[in-house]
C-alpha cells in the first residue's frame, strides 16, 4: 500500500500545469531570494561602500576582494575618510549565503534576485566595482550577458538583512528584517513594528526605544 502512497503527490498534480515557458516567461521570485549583488549608493550619488572589507572577511567562499583608499578630498566617492577602491566578487565561488550583506555596516552591498548570467571565460565571472555599483536611478545595471526580460525589474529589488540587532540590545536575539533600500519600500516585518531602533549610526548610537531627541 505504501507503494502507491508514494505517488500521491504526483497524482495530485495531474491536470495542473506546473511548468512555464522559461525564459520567455519567468516566475516571480521569493521575497528573500539571493541573487547577484549590487553596490548601493546614496541619493546624492555617493557610494555607500567604505571599503571596510568586512564582507570579504566574513565571506565563507572567499570570493570577495576589496581594497580601501583615502577619499579624494576634492571629489569624495563616499562620505567619510575611506571608500572602496577595488571591489570584486567572483561568481564562480559565490554561494549566495548573504553573509556579506549581514556584515555590511552601511548597507552598501545587497543581493538582488538576478541570477541568470553565464560566461564564456573565467575572467568574466569576476564582477568588478564598475559592474556592481547601481546605476544613477538606484537600480542594478543590466550587463550584456545577463538575461533580463520585462519582469526582471522587480528582481532587482532585495531585502537588506536577516538578523540585525542594529546595535540595540533591545533586539538582541530577535530576528528582524529591515526595509529595502534600492527598490520601493515594503512594510517592516512584525517584530520590528513594536519599537524599531534607529540604525546604527557612527556618531550617536541611539539606544532609546522611544526615539527621544539627542539634545
Amino acid at each position: 500500500m505504501s507503494f502507491f502512497k508514494g505517488f500521491k503527490v504526483t497524482a495530485e498534480q495531474i491536470g495542473h500545469v506546473v511548468t512555464v515557458q522559461y525564459p520567455e516567461h519567468k516566475r516571480p521570485k521569493p521575497e528573500r531570494f539571493h541573487g547577484r549583488h549590487v553596490l548601493n549608493r546614496y541619493e546624492d550619488g555617493m557610494e555607500k561602500c567604505i571599503g571596510c572589507e568586512l564582507c570579504a572577511g566574513v565571506c565563507p567562499a572567499r570570493c570577495i576582494y576589496v581594497r580601501g583608499a583615502d577619499n579624494p578630498e576634492d571629489a569624495p566617492v563616499s562620505p567619510g575618510e575611506r571608500y572602496g577602491f577595488v571591489y570584486e566578487i567572483n561568481y564562480l565561488r559565490c554561494i549566495h549565503c548573504d553573509l556579506c550583506v549581514e556584515a555590511c555596516p552601511t548597507e552598501a552591498i545587497t543581493e538582488s534576485k538576478l541570477f541568470e548570467f553565464s560566461f564564456t571565460n573565467r575572467q568574466d565571472a569576476i564582477y568588478t566595482k564598475s559592474e556592481l555599483v547601481v546605476a544613477d536611478d538606484g537600480n542594478p545595471q543590466q550587463l550584456p550577458w545577463e538575461d533580463w526580460n520585462e519582469t526582471s525589474r522587480q528582481d532587482t529589488s532585495s531585502w537588506m538583512r536577516a538578523t540585525s540587532p542594529s546595535g540595540s540590545a533591545a533586539f538582541e536575539g530577535t530576528t528582524q528584517w529591515s526595509g529595502e533600500l534600492g527598490y520601493g519600500v515594503r512594510p517592516p516585518e512584525p517584530p520590528q513594528v513594536v519599537a524599531r531602533p534607529k540604525p546604527l549610526d557612527s556618531e550617536a548610537p541611539a539606544a532609546d526605544p522611544e526615539g527621544g531627541d539627542g539634545h
Binding site: 532609546d208 527621544g212 539634545h215
Partner: protein, 439 residues
Amino acid sequence: MATTVAPIVTAHIGTPDSHTLRGYLASGGYEALRKAVTTMTREEVQTEVDTANLLGRGGAGFPAGRKWSMLRKADPTYLVVNGDESEPATFKDHMLLEEDPHQIIEGTIITAYAIGAAQAFIYVRGEFALGIERMTQALNEAYGHGAAGNRIFGSDFSLDVVIHPGAGAYICGDETALLESLEGKRGFPRIKPPYFPAVMGLYGAPTIVNNVETMSNIPWIVVNGGAAFAALGEPQATGTRLFAVSGHVKKPGNYEVELAKNTFRDLIYDPRFGAGIRNGAELKAFIPGGASSFWFGPDRLDMALDETKVKGEGGSMMGSGSIIAMDSSTCMVRAAWRLVRFFSRESCGQCTPCREGSSWLDKIMYRIEAGDGRPDDLDLLMDVCDNISPGVQWPSRWPPNMTTICPLGPSIPPPIVSALGMFRDEFLTHIKDGACPYG
C-alpha cells in the same frame, strides 16, 4: 550658642596696614620666628605643633605635626605652602594672602625651620594678582628685616622663600598636582604609590605641603604654646578655624570661630557672622564644606563644627571650610548642575571616569535643567555617579570610594547625589514639565 575667643589667624585683619611690615611689626609680628630660631630647637617647635594638634586647614584635615613627622629623612627636603585656593565659595586664603602676607611668611619660615627644609615655596593661585603682589612685597620686606634669607635673626638658620604664581587650574590645589605644577608641568595629580609627597615630593625629594591657613596658625602656636591652642575647641578639633560663609546669608564673609564649640547654625544665623538668610527667606539646604562635600538640610544646622562629627554622623566633610547657604528660591537642579560643570571644566583629564564622567554628568544635568530630561535620567545619574565613586549613596557616608587618582573624581557625585537625595521632586518636576520651575 557661639563662643567668643580671641582670633588667631585673623588677629591682624582690619588693623592699619596689616599687609605691610610696619603694620605687622606693630602687632608683634616676627616675634614667633625670632623665638623659634633663636631659642628653640627644631624638635621643640615640632613638639609644640604636635601638642596643638593643629589639623591641616586645606581640606583633608590631617594633623600638621603628624605630617611633619612622616617626612622621609633625606637631603634636600622642601616645604611647599599651598595657596592655590580655588574651591568654589572658599575665599579665606584669598583674604589672608592679601591682608596678612607676613603672617604666612612667618609661619612658613618657622615650619621650614622645624622640618629642616632647604627651600620653601609658596604657591599662590594665579588669579590672586593682588595677593601675589602683596606676598612679593612682604617677602622683600621680610628679607630686609632679617626674617628671611641668610642667617635669619642672627641664627644659623638660612632659608630662601619663593612666591610661585599659579596660572588657573583648580586641580593644582591637590598637593601632588601642585608639585607637578611647581615643577613647571601640567597639573596632573601623581599616582600614589609611589609619589607620597613626604617620601617623593618636589623633584623626588621629601616634601611637606601645608595650606596657607595652617601656616598662619604657626606663629601663634609658637608664641602661645601648643597647649594653649589645644585648649581651644575639643581635643579632636582644636583651635579656631576660618570659615567662609556665602550664598543667601545677610552677611557673607570670613569668620574665625572656635572649633567644636560652635555649630553651623551659629555661622549662618549669628548676627556677628552670617546673620541669617536674606530677604527673610527660609534656609533650604547648605553646603558644609565646599563644592565637593555632601549637602546638609536645615536639620543638620545644630551639628558642631567638628570634622569627626561632620564626617561620622553627617557623612560629609568640613573640607575647605566654606559654607554655602541656599534659600527656598534656589533651583537645586541648577545649583547641582553648576557645581558639576565646575568639576567637568576643572578635571585635569587624566582618569577616564573623571574626564568622561564629569562632562557626561554635566550634559545630563544641563539637559534636565533645560527641560529635556528623561525619566530614566535619574537612575542614569546615580549609576554614572556610582561608576565614578562606587557605593555612593544617599544618605551619604564618608569617606567616598574612588576610581580615580585624586579626590576630584569622588568630588563630582556629591552635588548630584545630595540634590537627588533631598530634592528628587524638583528633578521630576523638571522632567515632567519640560522646564525649570524656578525660571
